[in-house]
Structure formats: C-alpha cells, structure tokens
Amino acid sequence: MSGRRRDGAWLEAVARSRGIELSPARADELAAAAEPILKAFDELVAELTVDDDLDDFRRVLASERRRA
C-alpha cells in the first residue's frame, strides 16, 4: 500500500459520490486491482517537475510537424 488510502471503503465512497453502487466486496476487489497500477503511477509522477505542463505533448508534436 502506498501512502495514500486506496482501500475498498475509499473506492466504495468514491463510487457512491458519483452515483454508482459497488458492494463492499466488489470495492475491495477493485481497490486491490488498482493499487499496484496506481503505486507504479505515483512513482512515475514523482519524476515530474512543476514545469512539466499539460501542453508539452502538443508542443513537441507541433515542433515535429514543422520539422517533417
């Protein structure tokens, strides 16, 4: 488990807040499946600096288009 609380109770509450019903057992199962992916994702996010912005991908694509 990473530092963030991402157990079944959390996911069940998230789902309920979005109008989606999950049983506690189903929420536990989904939270367990999501955890390793989110943990690896958190490690990747830790590499970001604040100036890695949302537009960078499109900026690089545009630059490559001019180069092509």
């Binding site: 939270a31 992916i37 989110l38 996010v45 970001l48 490559e64």
Partner: protein, 441 residues
C-alpha cells in the same frame, strides 16, 4: 483471373476510373461477398446495400467499397459501439473521416464488429457475436477493430476504417494477416467517432497492403504520402531483449527474419532501448481509465447492466483514478515523447517491434482470460499511443499452425510516409501480404 474481391484498392479505383468496371456492379459484388463472409466470421454489425441510383463522386477512391468500425456516426445514424442497447449522443451527424472517404468516391457497404465500447483487444462480443479469424474461425481476431481486420483479410472489403487507442488497429491486423496503420495522434480527425480515450484514440486504415493503406490514409488525413524511399539511408532500431521478454520464440524468430529482410534491402540495423518507454504504460492506463469513465459514467450510474460484465468491471476500476491523476498522466505524455525522440529516435528512423506476443489464441481459451490476453498485446502497442507516434503493423510470416504473425514499424510523429514506404518496400520483397486464408480464397 483474380476475383474482384482480391483486387487492391489501387486496382479497383483504376478499373472504375477507366470504365472497365461499373461502381454499382463493384458495390453489388462486395455486398454479396460481405454477407457470405459475415455469416462465417461475424465481422459486420450491418451490411448496407448502397443505392445503385447514386453515382459516387470521381476521386482517388472512385467506386471502391469499404466498411467502418461501428464507432462512427454516419448520415445521422448513431453507432452501436458494439453494445446494441447503448445510446450515446453524438453532435456530428457524420464522422469527418467518412465524409472525406465518401467525397473521394469510396462507397460504404456496412458497419463492422468490435469489442464492446472498443475497450478490449480480443474481438469477443457476446451481443453482436464473437468475431472469428479468417485463418481459423476457432481463433480470435484480436481487437478492438476486430471486424475490420477479419473482413479485409477474407476479401469482404478492400479496406476498412478503424480506431486505435492501444493497439486496436494493429493487433487485429497482425492476428488476421493484414496491414493496419495507427497514424500520428490527430493526423486523421476523430470528430464524429465515439471515443474510448480522447487523448490516445487515433483513426486509421486497414487494408491488405501498405500501398493501399497509404492511398486511403492520404485521403483520410488530407495529405500526400509518397512511398519513394532509399532504404540505404534508413536506420532501423530494434531492442532484442525487449522482444525476448515480451514475445514468444516464434514471434522473435519471425521478427529477426523481418529485420534481416530490411537489412538486405540496404537498411542499417541499430540497437535501441525501449524499456524506459514501457514504464509509461501505467500512465496510459490511468489516462484511459479517466477518459473512458468520462464518456460512460452517466450510463454506468443509470443503467450499468447495459455493459457486458467485463466492460462494466473495467469502467468501475476506472473510479480509482482521481482528477489529479488524469492531469499528471497527461503531463507525463510530453516527457514520454521527449524521451522517445531523445533516445531511440536519436539513433533510428524507424523502430521495429512485434505487434502481438504470439499468434491468435483459441476463442475458447481467451473467453476465460480476456483481460490478460488483451494486456499481453496492449503492452507491445500502447507505448506508441501514449507518445502519439505513427506505427504500422504488417504481416511477417506464419506460425506452425498456419496463423499469421505481424510486426510494427513505428516512426517519429508525422512520419507516416516513412513507415508506410518502409512497409511497402518490405512487402515488395516478401509475399506475406499476398497470402489468402484457405477458407476464403
């Protein structure tokens, strides 16, 4: 004499243009063929007989029949997205890409089967019918553009339009032995298509040869694509340890042979490292979660049973992605593309990789393990979606059971001409793209 349905896009267009073939006769023959093939392979959601009274406009695709994955709006008709009871509103009455193809003279003869909401890579669809592989109908087609690949491979249509958010054109192209291009992100308009993941969805073309894919893509992307290339100036990057870790021995051997063909044509083979690229796969997953949920959340809340259980489960799993996670995943995208350009593409013009880890598995075995079968193929393809670069899959041989194997040629953004020209040069030197499934010759 070659049957009409095995003519290339180029040959059909030329024959119609010269008056040798009448567009209505061509369309009629393909509609009949499509119905026969569909009865065996469940590759169509719908076959439409076009009106014989309306002549298609003259253009580069004059009178050439095609079909499209059923995610595109057309003439105000909403697509099923592979889930017949799902009603998703679309603003555009017709998808831009279909308008462009129709304007170039192509003739749509139907909508094609797919994995439900395009959120898997197997071709299994209990509601519409599992799409079946023309090389062995007990095998999967791959997906999600399942019907597109099967219909092209069986000669039901000379080309198809699909979408690819993580391999959905390339995976079925490889399993069914055809050629399929995922273009640069944004190169072909996705307006009028039901999205899976806005940031990664790309609209692309499947056909039997790279030449045909290029001809149609030039229309769809409103560009020119020259297939002239000097392979003596081409650097081909390969990461053999990446291949060995992710693909079967059969596939790795066939890829070695494909690389040897390219080297024999004059290309320089260089070693590259793709492992760092692969670590972004989790960011692609988080992006897909958030964006698929954005499209389907209202329906999931109001009418969850409309989705097949596996799809419903994937959408529920997506609830685990927070809004900030989605933003961070998109922030990682620029970084991933910069790493790809500064690493592998600093030393290579095109990268080769297997499209699938193995040949198409049996439907019976996949039904019990659909998620893992999808993931096994997605991880070879999704890095090129997350980074938005073009990648074409083309046939590179067969396994011991006579099933096709495919490999990818990926290039820098906007280098569709380079990857397709390389693919065309490879196909001119080999005959894998000319083989036909014995059941449909």
């Amino acid at each position: 004499m070659t049957e009409l349905w095995w003519l290339s896009v180029e040959e059909l267009a030329r024959a119609v243009r010269s008056g040798e073939l009448a567009p209505a006769d061509v369309a009629g023959t393909f509609v009949e063929r499509a119905r026969e093939v569909d009865a065996a392979l469940s590759c169509f959601v719908r076959v439409d007989a076009p009106s014989a009274d309306v002549a298609p406009p003259a253009g580069p695709l004059h009178g050439v029949p095609y079909a499209y994955k059923d995610v595109f709006a057309r003439d105000g008709r909403r697509p099923t997205v592979g889930v017949p009871d799902l009603q998703l509103p679309l603003r555009a009455p017709s998808a831009d890409v279909l308008d462009l193809l129709d304007g170039a003279g192509a003739v749509a003869i139907g909508a094609l089967n797919l994995d439900p909401i395009a959120y898997a890579a197997t071709g299994l669809n209990a509601d519409v019918g599992d799409a079946r592989n023309p090389w062995n109908p007990e095998r999967i087609t791959g997906g999600s553009s399942s019907g597109a690949a099967a219909a092209v491979a069986a000669g039901a249509i000379p080309f198809a339009v699909g979408t690819d958010a993580g391999g959905s054109i390339r995976i079925p192209a490889a399993f069914c032995g055809v050629t399929g291009l995922k273009p640069t992100y944004g190169a072909v308009s996705a307006r009028g298509a039901v999205p899976l993941t806005f940031s990664q969805d790309t609209v692309g073309v499947l056909a039997r040869s790279a030449r045909d894919v290029a001809l149609v893509t030039a229309v769809a992307a409103e560009t020119e694509l020259s297939l002239e290339i000097d392979l003596g100036n081409l650097r081909v990057g390969v990461d053999r340890s990446f291949v060995e870790q992710r693909a079967s021995a059969n596939v790795a051997r066939a890829l070695d042979d494909a690389v040897a063909v390219l080297a024999g044509l004059g290309a320089t083979v260089v070693e590259v490292q793709l492992d760092r690229l692969n670590r972004f796969d989790v960011a692609a997953t988080v992006t897909t979660w958030a964006e698929a949920l954005a499209v389907h959340e209202r329906t999931l809340a109001a009418n969850p049973d409309v989705y097949p259980p596996v799809v419903r489960g994937r959408l529920e799993l997506a609830l685990a992605a927070h809004g900030a996670d989605h933003v961070n995943a998109l922030r990682l995208r620029g970084r991933a593309l910069r790493e790809l350009l500064g690493g592998p593409f600093a030393v290579a013009d095109v990268l080769v990789a297997p499209t699938t880890a193995r040949a198409a598995p049996p439907i019976a075995s996949v039904a019990a393990d659909a998620t893992n079968v999808s993931l096994e193929q997605l991880r070879l393809n999704r890095p090129f979606n997350f980074t938005g670069v073009p990648s074409v899959s083309l046939p590179m041989g067969f396994d011991g059971d006579g099933l096709p194997l495919g490999f990818q040629l990926a290039g820098r953004p906007w280098s569709e001409a380079t990857v397709l020209a390389t693919a065309a040069a490879y196909q001119a030197a080999t005959d894998w793209d000319l083989r036909r499934p014995p059941l449909f010759r």
